[in-house]
């Protein structure tokens, strides 16, 4: 065979990702936070009057994604900055000197893992919400309903993509604390800024990740003025692509 390639780098990254504890803690925390939020919402609505609608329960029981996105975003960041912070990056680049292959492998492995965890977390949020309202008059939300299934699946996708934005920011910033701070800032500050625009805030708000999550992606029908959930999810992928491309350009010329 004629030298190493993406496949080898991806195997390396898979072993690296699964052999540090922080990966497992962040993944478990992401699932637990969504399950807890779902259960909490369901229990809260049990004795609520008027009786909640299926959409209300679904929309709110996916609310744990606000926390889960930060956890999985941090997972993505740490995939890169954990190496710069410790010196591991020198071993990695000595083994795979074509650095963009390393970044591509990190994107594939971390993105795949975060997408899986994100989907599990999203379904956990949905399921615990449904379990918590059993035996009440609140109508159940069936996954057979395309709008319900779409909201649950796209919330998982959103979470996976957040990790990819984290990978990109990690490659740009390289320092764990600064990169996680940047990621959290990018998640929350634009939402506050959009609020300052008042009436026309929706024109800006529909581009803001957290607002897309809460009003377009994780809901059965998007709030008027926002993009459809698929467009919102694609927009998130676009943000991730930009962050990763910037990281890739910078990666090439910097000293390791």
């Amino acid at each position: 065979m004629n030298g190493y390639g993406f496949r080898h780098a991806a195997r390396m990254e898979r072993i690296k990702l699964s052999s540090v504890r922080s990966t497992w803690w962040l993944a478990i925390a992401a699932v637990v936070s969504m399950a807890a939020a779902g259960a909490g919402v369901g229990l809260g609505y049990r004795s609520h009057t008027p009786v909640a609608t299926a959409a209300q329960i679904l929309n709110n029981s996916l609310g744990g994604a606000i926390v889960a996105q930060l956890l999985l975003g941090a997972l993505g960041v740490l995939t890169v900055t954990g190496e710069y912070g410790t010196g591991m990056i020198r071993s990695t680049f000595a083994a795979v000197p074509r650095r963009r292959i390393v970044l591509a492998a990190k994107v594939a492995v971390c993105g795949g893992a975060a997408l899986t965890v994100g989907l599990v977390a999203s379904f956990a949020g949905y399921l615990s919400g449904q379990l918590a309202i059993r035996g009440t008059a609140i109508p159940a939300a069936s996954l057979g309903d395309p709008a319900i299934l779409r909201a649950v699946v796209l919330t998982g996708v959103y979470l996976g993509v957040t990790a990819l934005i984290g990978v990109g920011i990690g490659a740009i910033v390289r320092h764990s604390g600064a990169a996680i701070g940047t990621l959290f800032g990018l998640m929350f500050v634009p939402m506050i800024v959009a609020g300052l625009f008042g009436e026309s805030g929706i024109q800006v708000g529909r581009f803001v990740p957290l607002l897309m999550l809460l009003n377009s992606i994780a809901v059965t029908s998007p709030v008027p003025g926002l993009f459809s959930s698929w467009i919102s999810a694609l927009l998130m992928c676009g943000y991730a692509a930009v962050a990763i491309l910037c990281g890739g350009v910078l990666l090439r010329h910097r000293a390791a």
Binding site: Y4, S19, V20, G82, R90, A94, A95, P97, A256
Partner: protein, 257 residues
């Protein structure tokens, strides 16, 4: 066979020559490495000597493609490091004792790096055995002593059974037994026909380990010589080293009296 691996036979020795051509690296106004041209040959241990801050580590980093030279190039068997097909099977490097994630076990660290260059898992166990870390292989590397970290670094360098070995200050943090172990290991690897390029600021240690010496100061080549030649003129090897580097030392203390 000291390395515990198959004796290298497949590669003609020219593939193992490290060649530096006018290698230059600026660090702001300072020139860290200044037009360094050296050939490092297989079959012997070549010591890379110079005072602290003389540019040894920067040179090593440029050979490995971790730093880009401002001028000149570093070639291994005529190939730039980033263009190697299987870097770890060609060059084994120990840069510093902290090039790992402290939360990962030694075995996972080695297994991950092995996967990147299609090196079988059995080699991981072999490398762990050679450096004496088999019993500690499942422990998180962050709990290791400095000497154990150096051994893990040596295991990484040996992982791909490479024909060229590059070690930056490998005896740092090792106890006397460890120092002797690494000396014997390096001499054995060279005797198998490998190229062994090892940096140090300790002339006494180099005198015991190396055959040839490349001496630099302030990034410039001061001498390419042998241990025997360097010691011949003066009364001691240490005096000869100081004579050679006296004009090229950045930081110097004075007597306490």
């Amino acid at each position: 066979m000291v390395s515990g691996f198959r004796p290298p036979t497949a590669l003609p020795s020219v593939d193992r020559v490290i060649e530096l051509r006018e290698l230059t690296k600026r660090d702001g106004d300072r020139v860290a490495v200044d037009g360094l041209s050296v050939q490092v040959q297989p079959g012997v241990v070549t010591g890379f000597l110079g005072p602290n801050g003389s540019g040894k580590s920067t040179t090593m980093r440029m050979i490995l493609g971790l730093d880009a030279p401002d001028h000149g190039e570093a070639l291994i068997g005529g190939v730039r490091y980033p263009d190697l097909n299987w870097p770890l099977k060609t060059v084994g490097a120990l840069l510093d004792a902290g090039a790992f994630h402290p939360g990962r076990s030694a075995r996972a660290h080695l297994t991950a790096l092995a996967a990147s260059n299609d090196i079988p898992g059995s080699r991981v166990e072999q490398a762990l055995r050679i450096v004496g870390l088999s019993d500690a292989a499942t422990r998180r590397a962050g709990t290791y002593s400095l000497g154990m970290r150096q051994r893990l670094g040596v295991a990484v360098a040996l992982l791909g059974d490479p024909g060229v070995l590059l070690l930056d200050e490998p005896v740092n943090g090792l106890d006397p037994e460890g120092i002797r172990w690494i000396r014997d290991l390096l001499r054995g690897l060279a005797a198998e026909g490998r190229t062994v390029f090892v940096s140090s600021h300790l002339i006494a240690e180099m005198a015991l380990t190396a055959d040839r010496l490349v001496v630099i100061g302030r990034g410039r080549l001061l001498a390419e010589t042998t241990v025997a030649e360097l010691a011949a003129g003066d009364d001691s090897l240490e005096d000869a080293f100081f004579r050679l580097t006296s004009q090229a030392t950045d930081y110097r203390g004075v007597g306490a009296s």
